[in-house]
């Protein structure tokens, strides 16, 4: 029997210094083979030469005063200096909203989340008010214009404002009819009828005046208004039958009234008759859209294009997968034509062709036209991205949702879209980055975005020949924003674990 021998395991020797540590890293990554070493030497030499020259230029020859002295023009452009605080306020609101959303989505905070959603929905209107300004009718204008409605309705026709009164009548009639229809208490009934009566009374002359209707018949406007009221009353009484609906309906109705009353007031009173005597009250002075420029215009264009093109893109994607051949064909045609031509061609079209296709009196600003072009273009690209997501939704999900008895609208809204959009978040963010970069093209059609301002700065007499500095500054700005957008998208992707493939 062999005696049990004990073996002592010798302690492991440290790995050779040439494999681990910085030297090992160098050997593995830079000098693993002869060819590799050669590549390292060549590219290292190239970096050295280019880097030295660039650094020497950046810290030595470059005249950065062209940027520092023009910083105000580059950021705000021609926006009036006295109103720049409004831009700061708008920026602050956006940042606050962003932070709020960040907090709301980090942990389950349903209340905060609702607040953030409401904030995002309201933000375009708030921002438009802040950036563009707000002019409200004064009591004097109101009195003046109402006076025209009562005593001189014949003048309105020559001013081209005849559509306002019938529209106001139709809105108030529809709301009143609906309110009465769902059955409310007596006080509310009176409140619903009062504005209708007031508006109808104001426009008695126009109401009785005969108009040529659709069928070629002469009809008084009051008849049409009566029909609208009756129809909405009928709809309201049908919708109000179930008690559960009623609560939601009443809440919606209250909101509708809150919006409608100022809308009616503005509709009826904000036009200029007898301008000399009654100037509107400037709550915030209007800033002509032509003055929007620089970084501010770039950002506004990007935000508006992103926000407005998203719903259109989703609709187009749904249309492209619709079971109705006509809708599908229309969507395909639209998407493919837009995707087949350059953005600059679309912007050119929006600047020069859009005004021709709209009534002569509608006078859109250049900025609005460019926005329209950007929105159309982006929507077509987003539609294709969203379509990819729609195709990734598993068919069983749709079938299960249908089997539960959800209507098509609910199947789309609650089952298909959330999954589809979630799957393509990275692609959508990539699209947003490319929209942001594409805003630079508006400088070609004559808008004063950051790039256009840069171009004009290089022509300043004291800074002639500072082209590289200026465009490098622009490039750095675009890079910082785009790169942080892509980085944010990557983090979102990792956290949600989304993305196709």
């Amino acid at each position: 029997m062999a005696q049990a021998r004990t073996w002592t395991v010798p302690p492991p020797e440290p790995p050779p210094a040439l494999i681990v540590g910085p030297i090992g890293w160098l050997r593995r990554n830079l000098f693993s083979t002869w060819g590799n070493s050669l590549l390292t030497v060549i590219s290292g030499g190239a970096i050295l030469v280019v880097g030295r020259a660039s650094l020497g230029w950046i810290f030595g020859e470059a005249n950065w005063q062209v940027v520092t002295r023009n910083l105000r023009v580059l950021t705000w452009g021609r926006y009036p200096a006295s109103e720049v605080w409004r831009l700061g306020l708008a920026l602050g609101l956006m940042v606050a909203l962003g932070v709020l959303s960040g907090i709301a989505w980090r942990r389950p905070a349903a209340q905060l989340r609702r607040l953030a959603v409401i904030g995002w929905i309201a933000s375009p209107f708030v921002l438009a008010l802040i950036l563009y300004g707000l002019v409200l009718p004064t009591p004097a204008t109101i009195a003046n214009n109402l006076g025209y409605y009562i005593y001189r309705p014949d003048v309105l026709a020559s001013l081209g404002h005849t559509w306002r009164a019938p529209l106001a009548l139709a809105i108030s009639a529809a709301l009143a009819g609906f309110t009465l229809g769902i059955g409310v208490r007596r006080v509310w009934r009176f409140l619903a009828l009062a504005p209708l009566a007031a508006v109808a009374g104001l426009n008695l002359a126009q109401g009785i005046a005969l108009k040529i209707g659709l069928a070629g018949l002469a009809v008084p406007s009051l008849l049409v208004v009566g029909l609208i009221a009756a129809a909405t009353w009928f709809i309201g009484s049908g919708a109000g039958k179930s008690n559960r609906n009623l609560v939601g309906l009443r809440r919606g109705l209250a909101i509708a009234w809150i919006i409608a009353v100022p809308a009616l007031l503005i509709l009826l009173t904000s036009f200029e008759v007898g301008v000399d005597r009654v100037a509107p009250a400037e709550v915030l002075p209007l800033v002509d859209l032509d003055l929007w420029s620089g970084v501010m215009l770039t950002m506004v264009l990007a935000v508006v294009s992103i926000a407005a093109s998203f719903p259109i893109g989703v609709l187009l994607a749904l249309g492209r997968r619709s079971s109705l051949p006509v809708v599908r064909g229309f969507s395909i045609l639209f998407i493919e034509i837009i995707r087949g031509v350059p953005l600059i061609a679309i912007l050119f079209m929006a600047q020069n062709l859009l005004p021709l296709f709209l009534p002569l009196q509608w006078d859109f600003d250049r900025v609005v036209r460019a926005m329209a072009g950007m929105i159309i273009f982006t929507a077509a690209y987003l539609a294709e991205v969203v379509r990819g997501g729609l195709q990734a939704v598993r068919h069983e999900q749709v079938e299960a949702a249908r089997a539960l008895g959800l209507s098509e609208l609910l199947v789309t809204g609650l089952v298909i879209l959330p999954q589809a959009l979630r799957a393509v978040i990275p692609a959508i963010m990539g699209q947003f980055v490319s929209i942001f970069k594409d805003t630079s093209l508006v400088s070609i059609v004559g808008l004063l975005d950051l790039l256009a301002i840069c171009q004009s700065i290089t022509k300043q007499r004291e800074f002639l020949g500072t082209v590289r500095e200026v465009y490098l500054f622009a490039a750095v700005f675009y890079f910082v924003v785009s790169f942080s957008m892509s980085e944010a998208s990557r983090r979102l992707e990792r956290r949600l674990g989304v993305g196709l493939e």
Binding site: N29, N36, L324, P342, A345, N352, F357, L360, L451, R468
Partner: protein, 393 residues
Amino acid sequence: MSFPPRRLSSTAIAFWRDLRFLQAAAQVVFVVLVLIAGGWLINNLLEALDALDLDLSFSFLQRTAGFVLGEGMPMTRTDTFLRAFIVGLVNSLRVIGLGLLLTTVLGLLAGVALLSPNWLLRNIARAYVEVMRNTPLLVQLFFIYFGIILKLPSLENRIIIGPMQLSQRGVWLPRPVPASGWSLWLTVTLVCFALAAWVYSHRLRRRTLQGEETHPALWAAAIALAVPILLALVIPDGPFTWESPQLEGLRIVGGSRMTPEFAGILFGLVLYTGAFIADIVRAGVLAVPVGQLQAARSLGLGEFHVLRHVILPQALRVIVPPLTNQYLNLAKNSSLAVGVGFPDLYSVTQTVFNQSGQAVQMIALMMTTYLVISLTISLVMNLLNQRLRIVER
């Protein structure tokens, strides 16, 4: 217990609940709405055209343009708008064609660099890709054109790199001029290539059918290359002589010139699109499962065969669809040439519109042309894609 049999559809469904009716009705409503909107738009257009005293005919294209374009096919002041448009179109096609070629090469090289085991090279390529992808093309174009090309030295102090001469007035390269032996060389080369193609297919068939190693590629290369080289020793005249650019007074004579505008838009497009293609190439190669590579190596295939027969066919299948998109983008982005003053399709359209005021026709013409270019590129790429598809048994 038995239930009475359920009566199936004793009465027809009311038509307003019938899905077929609802769908048809929805489509009719949609068409009517589109027609109303379209009619309204066209009515507005006609009114506007009336007010501006314009019409919708294309006859204005025959009118005298009264301007000349900076480059491209020869053109005089008395030529028509149509001629100007065609010159612009050819200029655009030149940029697109050359751009597609160069950007593919650059994208491929940068893509390979992104995959390189060399840390330094890989990160240089990554920095290039990130910078290009995250700044607008137009800014890059302005930087390249105004900041680099126009800042090059004047003609007298031009930079000479090998055969290339750089100055702010353009880039010059030597131009091949056919020499006396040109036709003889052309015939010999053509014959050699035809012969090589025939030998290749012949030997390849023999290898496939009989299994013996016949080295088809080696033979073909030998015939296509070796024969002309041998001939060069016999025939005294070369196929062409190189005409190199010479400075004569204040201008350069000879050689082929690339104008600063053309160089600007071309290099800008190539650098920009190349970055996107590099990332596509990288993703495509990484998409090939590593097991495929290991399996191929364990079969004893050499590096070249692994690349040629295992990685490339699988990677290309992933690469081609996004590559098509990048090609289309390059074609569409060529319209940014207007930013550096190169008279391309878009720029000419703008000029003709400014001269004639015919917005509708010019925009329709331009959009159609771009659509045709885009469709041609996607058609070609789709054919390629189909050839690369896995043939399933």
